[in-house]
């Protein structure tokens, strides 16, 4: 039951954020809002399919995760958004801290592969690692600015939060405790819903900067 509540609440959050992003796109007609709408749209579709399956059949898909395809697509849009928002100066900037993304991500990816399928994990972890790499670099670069461009750090912090929570979620799913709130998986998933919603105001700040 808690899993269904968790999924339905995430569906509601991403749908609301998607509508918000869509309205921002309609007003501003800018690329970042379009990509953000696509991110929330595809994420919502994935959650919709997952929640629908749970609601109708009282179980999770057993053969192939259709929802995972939608979630991978949503992270492709997030990666594109991360790249679109970066300035030429930021793209030239390098910082060793960015290497934290593959240093932490690769061992975890191998760990997930041993617990699940190879291709899906390779794609998802690969995309999130590149997004984390861009976000760490972008956050450090933004924090070194003294003008309004400093506000871009909030976008990068939001993206990093989503990725860190996702990794926590995937790790928790490898050690399934129970279908109750004592399972850390649900803590991470509720946190993920909150961080997904924060992405909308954070992107607004980045676009305005």
């Amino acid at each position: 039951m808690i899993e269904l509540i968790d999924n339905v609440s995430q569906l509601a959050v991403t749908f609301a954020a998607g509508v918000g992003a869509g309205m921002s796109f309609y007003k501003a007609r800018s690329q970042p809002y379009f990509l953000l709408t696509c991110f929330f749209g595809t994420f919502t579709l994935g959650s919709l399919h997952w929640s629908l399956y749970m609601l109708l059949f009282n179980s999770t898909p057993q053969v192939f995760y259709v929802s995972e395809l939608a979630w991978i697509a949503s992270f492709v849009f997030l990666l594109t958004l991360d790249f679109t928002l970066s300035t030429p100066g930021e793209r030239r900037f390098h910082h060793p801290a960015a290497w934290l993304a593959p240093v932490i991500g690769v061992p975890l990816m191998i760990f997930y592969m041993t617990h699940g399928e190879i291709l899906g994990n390779l794609l998802m972890c690969g995309i999130t690692m590149v997004a984390a790499w861009l976000s760490i670099r972008g956050m450090i670069f933004a924090r070194r600015q003294n003008d309004v461009r400093r506000n871009r750090q909030f976008f990068h912090i939001a993206v990093l939060s989503i990725i860190v929570i996702e990794y926590g979620l995937w790790t928790a799913s490898c050690f399934w405790v129970s279908d109750t709130l004592t399972n850390p998986y649900f803590w991470f998933d509720f946190l993920l819903s909150a961080s997904l919603f924060i992405l909308l105001p954070a992107t607004r700040k980045a676009v305005e900067a």
Partner: protein, 213 residues
């Protein structure tokens, strides 16, 4: 047992003859229609193969395997068309819809052969449900492709995103149908409902600026 190859040959033969008679202007319409039917035929083979490979039952096959295979197969002729012929945006949308129509027509034909054509009311619902669902999935991908293929920064992510959106829509539809009962009538209404919402959204976004980069 349904000999779908024989059904395919029977339907495609007059279309092929007509295609060579109709002239250059309407040649592509027939080609894409036959292309859609061919993709439906190949999808049937692949669905059977993967259902056997994963040892999936009918419910798993229809809700988790078929949507992925069918949507990927429907996209292939359009990707080929886009990459080789570099058509105008309007032509891409029309081509995608014709491929989807060919696919839906052939699927419905096979359904009729397997289940008979006695109940007109149910066939009407199926026609405007499952048939229309393929068209809507085609319209989602086609209309999106018109937008994303004009922007180099969005081509890959956009195409993948659109494909996943179509797959998820198709899978959600199949889920509702597989559950049966009154829930399946929600599914039958879904394509037409999506069409209405799509038209409204299309009108709202009509004044978007064209960005060639």
């Amino acid at each position: 047992m349904t000999y779908i190859e024989n059904v395919f040959v029977c339907i495609a033969a007059p279309l092929l003859v007509a295609m060579f008679c109709v002239g250059k202007k309407h040649f592509r319409v027939f080609l894409f229609f036959i292309g859609g039917m061919s993709m439906c035929l190949l999808s049937a083979y692949l669905n059977t193969f993967f259902a056997g490979y994963y040892n999936a039952d009918l419910q798993d096959a229809t809700t988790q395997i078929a949507p992925v295979i069918e949507e990927i197969m429907k996209l292939l002729p359009i990707l080929f068309y886009l990459l080789i012929f570099e058509p105008k945006p309007k032509e891409v949308f029309a081509a995608m819809l014709i491929v989807a129509a060919g696919f839906a027509t052939f699927e419905n034909t096979c359904y009729l052969i397997q289940n008979g054509a006695a109940e007109l009311s149910f066939l009407l619902i199926r026609g405007f449900g499952t048939g229309a669902m393929h068209i809507i999935c085609g319209a989602i991908v086609g209309s999106g492709m018109v937008y994303v293929w004009q922007r180099s920064w969005l081509k890959m992510a956009g195409t993948f995103g659109l494909l996943c959106a179509a797959i998820t829509f198709h899978a959600a539809y199949n889920l509702l149908i597989a559950y049966g009962g009154s829930v399946q009538f929600i599914a039958f209404a879904l394509p037409l409902l999506t069409l209405v919402i799509g038209r409204i959204l299309g009108k709202l976004l009509k004044h978007l600026p064209q960005q060639p980069n």
